[in-house]
Amino acid sequence: MGNLPLLNNYLSVGAILFTLGLIGFLSRRNLIVMFLCAELMLQGVSLTLVGFSTFHGSWGGQVFTIFSLALAGAEAAVALALIVVLFRRNETLDISLWQDLREADQPPVLDEFEADQLEPETVYPELTRSGVLPGQGGLPPHHNHRTIDEAIEEQRHEPVEVPHA
């Protein structure tokens, strides 16, 4: 039979992990991070179960944790599949976009956005593409400033007659 302060230690750690998972689940808006927070709560519970199992000298807690591991695996498979499907629809992982799933009489949750001063994206220098445009027999000589994209754009406006091969 167990050591009570020891059990207390493990239970405290489990409780803190569970609470942190709860806070994260409530406050984060990324679907995947929310899922990870749910798993964090599960970890807190598992720690508690193993603590009790050691304390009571029985295998029940550990067996239960093994089941919860298996369930977590199943849950991860299904949740990941759902997340992938949701991501395909909206191209984002934001949970706020799925508010139309709420109850009919509930008002929508409005997330306050402050205007973010996002860092400007790195602009890489645009290099002239090399290569020959198909069907044109190459770019005119010394035409370094026209990229292939521009050439294609020009071609679209004034169709070039392609000689028969």
Partner: protein, 261 residues
């Protein structure tokens, strides 16, 4: 009066921690200045140290005790950083660290099989698959919905209340437990210690004596699992199968068709 002081002190500790987590949670690029994060991590650390000072130090030996504190600290700190990080990839990595230290804690409690299983299943498979999806879904930088948390104050309050309930009760019960029976408050005990007679009875009730002292940990765990809980094992196996089939079905559906329908 002792009751009140105990709960008040644990409330203060928990509120400190909650405030720290609140300051650490992502709140946009404008408001998440360095100072708030530094103050937040300071508060959270103070709260963690205060909680740890309430831990009982009656571990079998000094090495085990040091290992426990180290692993518990790594686990909790990584959990905080996981919910506070802007980048979901980093979040997943912190969660992997939580899992590693948790499996260390299992090992410290003698649950060897669980610690290996946690690493293989969680850290080795689940988190890696999640990293796949995160990396594919979000190739460049932090998205606006990762930079803002939703109602950080309210969720931290909820967290504080939950943590206070749990930790306060634990602390209180553990303190009471160390008192002799006559001085305890009614019901103030966390440990329903089974009597030896009860243990003997429960062992007798089992179809065969499943725990063998001469066998190892894994052997005994297997006996418990497959003799005592074999129905549950079958059910969980079925559930895994259903989950796999379901996941494949869900992902393979054509989104265009769904929208049309």
């Amino acid at each position: 009066m002792g009751e009140f002081e105990l709960t008040l002190s644990s409330l203060i500790v928990v509120v400190l921690g909650g405030l720290g987590v609140y300051l650490l949670l992502p709140r946009g690029t404008n408001s998440s200045d360095r100072a708030a994060r530094i103050v937040g991590s300071l508060l959270a650390t103070i709260s963690l140290v205060l909680i740890a000072s309430n831990f009982g130090d009656v571990l079998p030996n000094k090495t085990n005790e040091l290992t426990f504190y180290l692993l518990a600290a790594v686990s909790i700190i990584s959990a905080v950083l996981m919910i506070a990080s802007h980048n979901p990839v980093i979040s997943a990595l912190w969660f992997a660290l939580v899992l590693l230290s948790n499996s260390g804690l299992y090992l410290l409690q003698g649950a060897e099989f669980l610690s290996a299983a946690t690493i293989i299943i969680y850290a080795g498979a689940i988190i890696v698959t999640f990293l796949f999806v995160i990396m594919l879904a979000q190739p460049n930088g932090a998205a606006p919905y990762d930079l803002h948390s939703r109602e950080p104050l309210l969720s931290c309050t909820a967290g504080v209340i939950l943590a206070w309930t749990l930790l306060g009760t634990l602390h209180y019960a553990c303190t009471e437990e160390s008192k002799p029976l006559s001085q305890r408050h009614a019901g103030a005990s966390m440990a329903a210690l089974p009597s030896p007679a009860l243990v003997a009875k429960s062992l007798e009730a089992q179809p065969e004596s499943i725990i063998r002292a001469d066998k190892g940990h894994v052997d005994n765990l297997g006996r418990t699992l497959f003799l005592e809980h074999y129905v549950a094992v079958e059910v969980v196996g079925m559930l895994l199968l259903v989950a796999v089939v379901g996941a494949v079905l869900i992902v393979n559906r054509d989104p265009a068709k769904l929208t049309a329908a």
